[in-house]
């Protein structure tokens, strides 16, 4: 669901297809369109775009009331031990059942939630293990909360399970038929298949991609899948899980080592002036206290090592490791507000690297107009992208809205090196770090991306070297020592490429004293003696000169010696859950990590006798658990991190060691996923009075108008998506004639029913319009598209692949001219998968 795997991740689809042909796996595709993925699946269930939570919620409802789930002891054992189903929630929590689609805690202006009422009921805090507070760790130890209260029998109506059961009670097969437009029978087939293929002997996986993220309820859709998979016991086990199929070679890496406003590398939060982040201590306490009973109890080590890596010798305990000089965010600085601020003239300089917002950005017309307000812009790419060329031949130039002679933006195009022209690592969608070696020098003045940032940094350090201003401390003291060793550059024409090895080593972490790489993040210290760019990557360079990204020995299964899966080469997260609470594999067939009571743990008891027993994984899989913590271990009430967690607390990054069916924290739009209609929808929410996500991010600014609910001018639902033959905004595919000729022109997929209604003929031109803009496309009339009968109304859906722009060797209108700036409240990802529009036959100019 939410993924068109065969088209967008064709090689990954090799594996489910193998499972189907060789092991009889059932493949199911739930998607509004019949795609190349649907064609290869056993079942295709068409649902109206944006109704995924209804469909998944109804599966949850079906599962927990099914005979199998209630009689096979596997499910209860898994759910009670490994999820927070048994945990009691605060008595003043009010669910959507109580508030007709809202949760308790909504602010008076209705724009945000306080999650105070979503909290666990807890025992009294324990007596702290330490009185002194010499270190950050001591501070955390003094603030260990009481254990959550539970009812393992799941009888208490305040247990997560009972709240969840009640919450999803209205998500029935009939609701699915009514809201999703999917026949009841088809839904039941999907639900039954999923249930029947889960259990001790079988696991099921749910795979998604941006078909789920690009919604105003994107995070909650994914949460629903996670809840369902937790209930089915499909997490932490081989063949299970919720797989995010990400779209770009190192998009995982760019999230891990975030070039994202809200995050520091390794998923540490960015210092934020809105929070209590005044000093390093405040920052650590604010961020780490709520998580201190998980592995995040080590937050101080991660954070201090990060700052040490930034400022090196200048980072000392006395100056809070340079924390004061590190920027703080003050709001949402994500890409959509970035456009608005650019339009408002707040942003003067813009670095665009391997990105093409003139095509790929939401409300692309606004994006392009914003580019004209800049003082300067640097574009680094392979070809003259639409973004680079916006000032000379964009649609706005042609229409006269912008005039080249009036655009003051100073534009630099810097040619970029392609992957085989540089050394580096990518992190794939499975968190696997893989190195690519340099094969040739880049041509002409093309250089690697790291070269640009490193050399720009060198020049800036030079410009600021004599400054004594506080504000320039960070750049002056920035640790910037990535000059290549002569041997690294010897074979190449270009001698000043920064050393990829040195960069990765800093990401990996090393001891400050002697510069030795750290083999694991357990070696990190909070006293400034270790520097580490991104703690989760520690271990990729376990010893000097060895890059595990270059491990290239695969095998038939986990392939632990192919690349390096962060963290610590663990391919399946929380894989402790692949055994039952007592440490025995759930089944022989699905064995992965289990407790071997005989094995030599390598530890000795105080009497000096060897202690037997440890976790083992014959496949070579990294064990996502403390290697010698016995299954029956009881956590210490006042312990930090691993000390607090018990031997069956498989979910070691959660402060209660459980998978969260109910999220007491971390989400801004509710602890349980509930169905809201997309921000622009042709129908009313038939489930609750609340129409759409109450806290969705909206920007009511000029140039970004929205459509009303059931707006008669825009009655048709539009989804945008990708094709196999192109990539993203096309800057890496539309310039390749080999790919251009496979999918030459922008087209619009339309059902014959809608085509008949609007007099549209296959192959001819159509014009699609929203309040933001309009585009022209060729019509592809196909029964793969279908209308949905919702609430007595025929809802038509059309689809537009969004790869095209006016440059390259395959050209077409920019589909994002149609979309608006509106997004998910948790992560500010736009709603590109569903919004409303209108369509008519004919080209743009020839108005009917």
């Amino acid at each position: 669901m939410g993924s068109n795997m065969a088209e967008c991740h064709p090689v990954a689809f090799r594996w489910p297809l193998k499972a189907k042909t060789e092991h009889g796996a059932v493949l199911m595709h739930v998607d509004p369109r019949f795609t190349r993925t649907s064609a290869l699946c056993d079942i295709h269930a068409a649902i109206r775009a944006g109704t995924d939570i209804v469909f998944l919620g109804a599966i949850i409802n079906h599962v927990i009331h099914s005979e199998r789930w209630n009689t096979d002891p596997f499910f209860r054992e898994y759910v009670v031990n490994y999820t927070n189903a048994a945990t009691l929630i605060a008595p003043d929590f009010k669910d959507t059942e109580d508030l007709d689609g809202l949760y308790s805690g909504l602010s008076p202006d209705g724009k945000s939630y306080s999650n105070a009422t979503w909290a666990y009921q807890r025992e009294k805090p324990p007596v702290p293990a330490t009185k002194e507070a010499k270190t950050f760790t001591d501070l955390l130890l003094q603030r260990i909360p009481g254990r959550p209260k539970t009812d393992p029998m799941l009888r208490n109506p305040r247990t997560v399970f009972r709240i969840l059961e009640r919450h999803y009670s209205r998500y029935t097969p009939e609701t699915v038929e009514k809201i999703c437009g999917c026949p009841k029978e088809k839904f039941l087939k999907v639900a039954e298949s999923l249930l029947n293929n889960s259990g001790p002997e079988r696991t099921s996986n749910i795979t998604y991609a941006v078909g789920w993220t690009q919604h105003t309820v994107g995070v909650q859709i994914i949460r629903t899948a996670a809840v369902l998979q937790s209930l089915l016991g499909n997490i932490g086990r081989p063949g299970g899980g919720v797989l995010a199929l990400r779209g770009h070679a190192s998009i995982q890496g760019s999230t891990d080592i975030a070039t994202l406003y809200h995050s520091l590398p390794g998923y540490l939060n960015m210092p934020d002036a809105r929070k209590a982040h005044e000093s390093l201590k405040d920052y650590i306490l604010t961020e780490a206290v709520p998580l201190s009973t998980s592995y995040w109890g080590n937050y101080p080590k991660f954070a201090v090592s990060y700052f040490k890596a930034q400022f090196g010798d200048a980072a000392t305990r006395e100056n809070d490791y340079g924390y004061d000089y590190h920027p703080k965010i003050t709001g949402d600085h994500s890409v959509m507000p970035m456009v608005i601020d650019m339009m408002a003239g707040k942003i003067k300089g813009f670095l665009v690297m391997g990105q093409n917002p003139a095509v790929g950005g939401q409300n692309a017309r606004l994006q392009r107009k914003a580019l004209a307000k800049l003082d300067w812009m640097v574009v680094r790419d392979f070809f003259e992208t639409e973004t680079a060329a916006f000032w000379r031949n964009s649609p706005e130039i042609r229409s006269g809205e912008l005039k080249t002679s009036e655009i003051k933006t100073e534009v630099f195009f810097l040619p970029a090196a392609v992957v085989p022209e540089m050394e580096g690592t990518f992190t794939n969608t499975q968190r696997l770090i893989q190195a690519h070696d340099k094969a040739v020098d880049p041509p002409g003045d093309a250089r690697s991306d790291s070269w640009f940032s490193f050399l720009l940094g060198k020049r800036l350090k030079e410009l600021y070297k004599d400054s004594t201003n506080d504000r320039d401390w960070a750049i002056r003291n920035l640790l910037w020592n990535y000059e290549p060793d002569p041997a690294e550059a010897a074979a190449w024409r270009i001698k000043d490429e920064p050393s990829a090895y040195k960069l990765l080593k800093e990401i990996n972490g090393y001891t400050w004293e002697d510069g030795k790489p750290l083999p694991t993040f357990a070696n990190l210290k909070e006293d400034g003696s270790t520097a580490c760019g991104a703690w989760i990557y520690t271990g990729v360079i376990p010893e000097e000169g060895k890059n595990r990204g270059k491990s290239r020995k695969g095998d038939e299964w986990i392939s632990p010696n192919w690349g390096f899966a962060w963290p610590a080469n663990r391919h399946i997260m929380y894989n402790r859950a692949s055994s039952d609470p007592s440490g025995k594999p759930w089944s022989e067939k699905k064995k992965l990590v289990y407790w071997d009571p005989e094995a030599d743990s390598g530890t000795k008891d105080p009497a000096g006798k060897p202690v037997p027993g440890k976790w083992v994984a014959p496949s070579g899989e990294g064990i996502d658990f403390q290697p010698t913590k016995a299954p029956g271990f009881r956590g210490k009430e006042n312990g930090l991190g691993f000390d607090w967690l018990g031997g069956a607390d498989a979910f070691i990054m959660r402060p209660d060691g459980k998978a969260w069916l109910f999220a007491p924290a971390g989400l801004v739009d509710g602890p349980l996923p509930a169905h809201y209609e997309p921000y622009e929808s042709p129908v009313k929410n038939l489930l609750y009075r609340q129409q759409s996500n109450p806290v969705a991010k909206v920007w009511n600014v000029e140039g970004n108008p929205y459509h009303k609910v059931a707006d008669p001018s825009y009655p048709i639902v539009l989804s945008t998506y990708r094709l196999t033959e192109h990539h993203g905004s096309g800057s890496m595919s539309r310039w390749l004639p080999w790919l251009a000729e496979l999918m030459p022109e922008l087209f619009c997929e339309i059902s014959p029913e809608l085509a008949a209604e609007r007099g549209i003929r296959n192959g001819e031109h159509v014009t699609i319009r929203t309040a933001r803009g309009e585009v022209e496309a060729r019509a592809l009339v196909t029964r793969r598209m279908r209308p949905f009968l919702i609430d007595g109304k025929m809802i038509h859906e059309i689809g537009l692949p969004w790869h095209w722009g006016w440059q390259g060797t395959a050209q077409g209108d920019v589909v994002n001219n149609l979309s608006s700036l509106v997004g998910d409240p948790n992560v500010s990802i736009h709603e590109g998968k569903v919004f409303t529009c209108d369509i008519r036959a004919g080209k743009k100019g020839g108005r009917a």
Binding site: H9, S250, Y261, P327, T330, R392, R471, T809
Partner: protein, 207 residues
């Protein structure tokens, strides 16, 4: 090697391409007289094939991370061929159409390999030295940052008033990165941006 984007490849280049690459040799029209080379294609073993130094790489497109082998002509130092790496447990030598086209991403006459500069209000690109461009960008970055740096900012407090907080940032520079770039770049770039106080740092992951 092919200039694959040529609109009308000349007969000579196309011939070289197809004959030169596929069967290995171009024979002059009459050169074959007297010696029977008719068995050229009929005999196994001595059909020439692209050969060179093989370098392990990863596909630059989606996040599946398929393995690639880049073959480099040892004589010319140019890329001859890019195809799947059979050793990769992820892709087992296979590629999708985009991955299979990686060669044309690298070797493409439409690719720009020189610095281009568009002065304010100008209607044309000019070619510029790389060094000049880097220096100009550094100067602009410094100028913009210095004119728009915030050491402190009034932030709303819990009581409806404001409180002065140290922010050490600038809103005047923004960075938007793609996500087909190395981990190393992400690291070095975020480091530089943070050192400059840039907070509008975003990438494709949000999109």
């Amino acid at each position: 090697m092919p200039d694959s984007t040529e609109v009308n490849p000349s007969r000579r280049t196309f011939l070289k391409r197809t004959v030169g690459v596929v069967s290995g040799t171009v024979f002059a029209e009459l050169a074959g007289f007297g010696v029977d080379l008719g068995a050229l294609a009929a005999k196994a073993g001595d059909v020439p094939i692209k050969r060179g130094k093989e370098v392990a790489s990863i596909c630059p497109y989606c996040a599946v991370g398929c393995g690639q082998i880049v073959t480099v002509d040892t004589a010319t130092g140019k890329i001859l061929d890019i195809q799947g790496n059979p050793d990769s447990p992820i892709s087992q030598g296979t590629l999708c159409p985009k991955g299979a086209a990686t060669y044309q991403l690298a070797v493409n006459p439409l690719r720009w390999t020189k610095v281009k500069y568009r002065a304010p209000l100008s209607d044309r690109w000019e070619e510029k030295p790389l060094d000049w461009a880097m220096e100009r960008i550094a100067q602009l970055a410094k100028k913009t940052r210095d004119a728009n740096f915030n050491e402190f900012q009034e932030m709303p407090d819990a009581k409806g008033g404001t409180v002065r907080k140290r922010v050490m940032n600038t809103y005047a520079i923004a960075s938007l990165g793609g996500a087909t770039m190395d981990n190393e770049w992400n690291y070095v770039h975020q480091k530089l941006m943070h050192a400059l106080g840039v907070v509008y740092v975003e990438n494709q992951a949000r999109i």
